[in-house]
């Protein structure tokens, strides 16, 4: 299976470990990544650009979709936020041919046209839907038994359900739990798993943002989680990077490693942790890995 790879800004910026882990994992799962066709694609706008100018955001995303279409490949993302923003843009573009035509006017000069055939998919959904759980099971070589993991989706991959196609693909709602179970770990369910990590208001209202980090990580920890796993690098940045702040704000130790989805998958596929830069997190994964008896 071959996909036009859309890595997003964060995996090429503050979370290089996500990029590396994705390449390693896809290699073993037989997901061929074309890194060229979207090389000159822009940021999705992350919802922020859409605040200022929705049409501009839709044009930039239509441009990205047109590039994947031109390459004749389905599009893969590795970020909940990119997924959500793309799905929302796509819904607006595909449901209104007149609007799409007027957007295409602005892509003409570059020789691009979006015909409306792209269905952007997060690696998480690709594992569950395109590869299928049976195939994925067959690739797992190291069962992560005894490990207790709290899922953390990130808002944009769970809402709005309509744009994300939850009605047609109901398995998306529990996809992260399905992967956690498939790697042999135990799901620690908690209400925060589909709530906000606080990242979008990090520079706007840091106090509230850090409180959100504290609430979610402490709740998961108190329910027995050894770590948290997320398909969203923005959630990772906040839950990992600001956990020390959350810890001092809440006046208690939290120490909950935040693992990117591909890193978790990679561990179960037998990929060495340092190859996925699991040693490059703010909250150390050392203890976790030693309990799993894999060298860091």
């Amino acid at each position: 299976m071959k996909y036009a790879f859309y890595p997003g800004c964060v995996s090429r910026g503050a979370c290089p470990e996500l990029y590396t882990a994705t390449l390693e994992v896809c290699n073993i799962l037989g997901i061929e990544l074309d890194e060229d066709s979207l090389r000159s694609a822009s940021c999705t706008g992350a919802g922020v650009l859409q605040e200022k100018n929705l049409r501009l955001g839709d044009t930039l995303n239509a441009r990205t979709f047109a590039m994947a279409e031109k390459a004749g490949l389905p599009l893969m993302t590795i970020c909940s936020t990119c997924q959500g923003v793309m799905s929302q843009a796509n819904q607006r573009l595909v449901s209104d041919p007149e609007y799409l035509a007027s957007i295409n006017e602005d892509l003409k000069e570059e020789g691009l046209e979006y015909k409306g055939t792209i269905n952007p998919k997060h690696l998480l959904w690709i594992i569950v839907e395109d590869l299928g759980m049976d195939f994925f099971h067959s690739k797992v070589v190291r069962k992560l038994e005894g490990l207790k993991l709290a899922p953390f989706y990130g808002c944009y991959i769970v809402r709005p359900t309509e744009a994300l196609g939850f009605d047609e693909n109901p398995e998306r709602e529990t996809s992260l739990e399905a992967v956690i179970e498939a790697v042999g770990a135990e799901v620690v369910d908690f209400p925060g798993k589909t709530l906000c990590c606080g990242f979008p208001i990090l520079t706007i209202n840091p106090k509230n943002s850090v409180k959100m980090v504290a609430n979610h990580t402490i709740d998961a920890k108190d329910r027995g989680a050894d770590a948290m796993v997320t398909p969203c690098p923005l959630c990772h940045l906040n839950l990992d990077g600001y956990q020390p702040n959350a810890s001092s704000a809440a006046k208690r130790d939290i120490d909950l490693p935040i693992i990117h989805l591909p890193q978790l998958v990679g561990l179960s596929l037998g990929i060495a942790p340092e190859k996925m830069r699991l040693n490059k997190h703010i909250v150390s994964t050392k203890k976790l890995l030693s309990e799993l008896a894999v060298a860091p």
Binding site: A14, S40, V48, N53, P244
Partner: protein, 318 residues
């Protein structure tokens, strides 16, 4: 059909003042709503259960509560849709983010205070006309969503910001504010937008979309908040972290095609905001130690001129 409900009970005047769940088993019709089930409990099984309701047809807005963890109207949620597939009970809780008075009844005072604070009445200028204040239909169309609000509080119940900060105006009041800012007959925009730009206003929303998802009336409060942000900035209020963040983000994408993660926080706080700059240092050091710093030199994406051209074209249309 057989239905199990697990209802969160709390009665400050009873012997057990600790909130707890109580399970009820009922025989219900396929067409029954969650509200029908709760009324049946109150009438036939346990008269001590308190809840609010009136119209039973999603009009009055009194029956908002959490069903299986998510806010909605009990009267337009069918039991059959709420039944968990694993045969467990439907979990019923009072609305969140508001103080519980008893069982499923919450105190709406904070909600009304928020709504009142945005001055939810028309403030037109000039002389009073003889008849009504008239507005062309097409200028009112964009308000069709917000005027559908029935003030049920579902959005407030599940707002992720109100959960950590009761100072936030909240989705219902902000959607209501949009209803007046966007009304062509209202002349208080300047005052309104200035107030909405304050702490606890439009910038504190996290864009989690919870309010959009739970609203039973399609009001989409978050979308209104985003429109208000645009209006706040257009009115010249650009001196907030929120406005600077949005501007810096857009500039970064325009200039390089993607996000410059190093410059973004610096520009959001404002380069002269020394206190905030210093607050960034510990994270910078932690990230450095972990080997987790975005590349120092932010490279443009290939053929970035195509992105810039789209910016020029689309922004000119505005």
């Amino acid at each position: 059909m057989e239905v199990k409900l697990s209802v969160r009970r709390y009665d400050p005047e009873s012997t057990n003042t600790v909130p707890h769940f109580q399970e009820y088993q009922l025989e219900m019709d396929e067409a029954a709503t969650v509200l029908d089930a709760l009324i049946q409990i109150r009438e036939d099984v346990d008269g001590t259960l308190s809840l609010r309701c009136s119209c039973r047809s999603a009009i009055c807005g009194s029956c908002a509560m959490r069903v299986n963890g998510e806010a909605g109207l009990a009267c337009n949620t069918k039991v059959i849709d709420a039944l968990p597939s694993d045969g467990t009970a439907i979990v019923i809780e009072p609305a969140g983010n508001l103080p519980v008075i008893k069982d499923l009844v919450v105190d709406f005072q904070p909600f009304w205070d928020q709504v009142k604070s945005i001055e939810p009445w028309l403030q037109p200028a000039g002389e009073e006309p003889e008849g009504e204040y008239l507005a062309p239909d097409e200028d009112m169309l964009h308000l069709a969503g917000v005027v559908s609000c029935i003030l049920c509080g579902a959005c407030v119940s599940d707002c992720t910001v109100l959960e950590v900060d009761s100072n936030f105006l909240g989705p219902a009041a902000l959607a209501k504010a949009y209803r007046f800012v966007g009304d062509p007959r209202d002349d208080a925009d300047g005052k309104r937008l200035k107030a909405l730009n304050e702490e606890g206003g439009v910038w504190d929303c996290t864009r989690c979309m919870k309010c959009v998802e739970v609203c039973p009336k399609g009001v989409a409060p978050m979308d209104r908040i985003m429109s208000l942000r645009e209006k706040v900035m257009d009115a010249g209020h650009t001196n907030t972290n929120g406005a600077r963040h949005a501007t810096a983000f857009v500039d970064s994408v325009r200039h390089s095609g993607w996000l410059d993660e190093l410059k973004l926080p610096i520009k959001s706080f404002g380069i002269f905001n020394l206190k905030a700059m210093i607050s960034l240092i510990p994270l910078a050091i932690r990230s450095q130690r972990a080997g987790k710093v975005p590349p120092l030199i932010h490279k443009n994406i290939p053929e970035v001129e195509n992105v810039r051209r789209i910016f020029d074209k689309v922004e000119n249309k505005k």
